[in-house]
């Protein structure tokens, strides 16, 4: 019994501490691959997108890959789970997140995918079967993802009894062994993305410019926009109050109330008796102007 209570309390503590953490910067989905860290080569990026399409067609599993530089203080699994929610992924989705600057990664699975593949099996792909973690630690991102998807392909073909094949690029990059990494990376098409080029000096980045991931640039722009929204609001004519429409409705209500008063009804009756039929005279009687004019005459 005590164990149960302790378990529930620990769970509540974990949930509370997670909820207390403020929002981390999370990228917008750009489809199958969201490489905000810009670490993958164009060839591998295209191959991952192609492979995800094949997997979706063959076994109904939707692959998503998100690469950022950092997890903003969250642990990899929390970041993966939050991004899975933010992107509104469902039962048949699998999300692989990786923080290039932290050498850290995790997967989040939809319920159907978890049932079919098993969380443990998918996590094993990251650490053992594919040497993904080792390649990430060495910043060999193309190789890491190619090897991961090669191992993933074996797993889904086994589990779903399917025959999905890897695109040529992924298969060829993934087939490089440790000794051939240098050879692979020396090929022009094998150079990673912008970040890889900058860190290897290929891009010839100027000393006075600092590379910024698009996610951070967008965030700063969002901060500026938030301030601009307020400035715009203050510059507009402040429409404090109930507005013109509100006042018109209020005046109509008051006129209706006054039209039900004793003197106005009396005036209306006498107006009708006198044979008055002009619209303005009728309206004047309705709102009691005749009563007011009588009062002034007195």
């Amino acid at each position: 019994m005590k164990k149960w209570i302790c378990g529930i309390l620990s769970l509540m503590l974990v949930l509370c501490s997670t909820a207390a953490l403020a929002a981390a910067r999370m990228p917008q989905s750009r489809g199958v691959l969201t490489d905000d860290a810009d670490v993958l080569s164009a060839a591998v990026s295209a191959a991952i997108t192609e492979y995800a399409g094949d997997v979706e067609n063959e076994v109904d599993v939707n692959l998503h890959v998100a690469i950022v530089h950092f997890f903003d203080g969250l642990d990899a699994q929390t970041f993966a789970n939050r991004l899975f929610e933010k992107w509104e992924l469902g039962k048949e989705d699998l999300l692989l997140v990786c923080a290039a600057g932290e050498d850290s990664f995790a997967t989040a699975l939809g319920s159907e995918v978890e049932k079919e593949l098993g969380k443990q099996n998918v996590d094993n792909l990251l650490y053992t079967s594919s040497e993904f973690s080792a390649h990430i630690a060495r910043q060999e991102y193309d190789l890491a993802f190619a090897k991961y998807f090669a191992a993933f392909n074996e797993l889904i073909n086994k589990r779903f009894d399917s025959s999905v094949t890897l695109p040529k690029t992924l298969a060829s990059v993934g087939s490089y062994n440790g000794g051939a990494v240098q050879e692979y990376q020396s090929q022009p098409s094998g150079l990673g993305g912008l970040w890889n080029q900058i860190t290897s000096g290929v891009a010839g980045e100027r000393e006075d410019t600092v590379y910024m991931p698009s996610l951070w640039t967008q965030t700063v722009q969002g901060v500026v926009d938030n301030s601009a929204d307020y400035t715009h609001y203050t510059e507009q004519d402040s429409s404090n109050g109930i507005g013109v429409g509100g006042w018109i409705i209020l005046i109509i209500l008051i006129l209706i109330i006054f039209s039900q008063s004793h003197p106005v009804r009396k005036a209306k009756r006498s107006y009708r008796k006198s044979g008055g039929s002009k619209p303005l005279g009728w309206i004047g009687a309705l709102i009691g102007l005749s009563v007011l004019s009588k009062l002034f005459r007195k």
Partner: protein, 180 residues
């Protein structure tokens, strides 16, 4: 036969309607103004988010620094500050206090990293530190704190102004908390 209302009752009802219109309009207007000021604080990319992003950059820098420094009090201090800045439950005054110390803590960690041989050899981590410093600078450049304080002060002054401000205050419109 329909019943007629005495003129005094009509006048009273009309007055009540006018008073209602004035009060409703005042509260609506003040609430709209307050909503705008609150959006500067807690809205998407508002001051709280900026503090949180700065805290996140602090955490990220700790990740980079820990690859080269073991048991560093400077990194621990930066991590403590970053944790407070990214914690939604911390009061605004506490966050302001820690945010003021963040830049100094970052500089202290950077100075410590400068003495690390492995850091000096890592082009990647030097780029990351430059990138994080740049982001911290960009987030500060928006000067969200001053803008929010100015907006909150203006709103609070308006709330203390005679008649309309008093009516809004009486009807439950609250002043904005200052970032101090």
């Amino acid at each position: 036969m329909k019943k007629s209302l005495p003129i005094s009752v009509c006048i009273l009802i009309s007055l009540a309607l006018v008073v209602f219109g004035l009060c409703f309009g005042t509260v609506r207007g003040y609430n709209a103004d307050r909503e705008q000021v609150t959006a500067l604080l807690g809205g998407d990319n508002g001051l709280m988010d900026v503090l949180s992003f700065r805290g996140a950059d602090g955490h990220n820098l700790c990740v980079v620094a820990r690859r080269h420094l073991t048991a560093s009090p400077e990194v621990d201090e930066l991590s403590r500050i970053a944790t407070i800045l990214t914690d939604d439950t911390q009061p605004l005054s506490e966050k302001k206090l820690e945010n003021d110390c963040l830049d100094a803590a970052v500089l202290a960690v950077k100075a410590e990293l400068g003495g690390s041989e492995s850091y000096l050899q890592s082009q990647r981590d030097q780029k990351y530190v430059a990138m994080l410093e740049g982001d911290l600078k960009n987030l500060s450049a928006a000067d969200k704190g001053s803008l929010y304080n100015q907006a909150a002060q203006q709103f609070n002054e308006k709330l203390n102004a005679p008649v309309s401000g008093w009516i809004a205050g009486l009807l439950g419109v609250k002043p904005c908390e200052l970032y101090q």
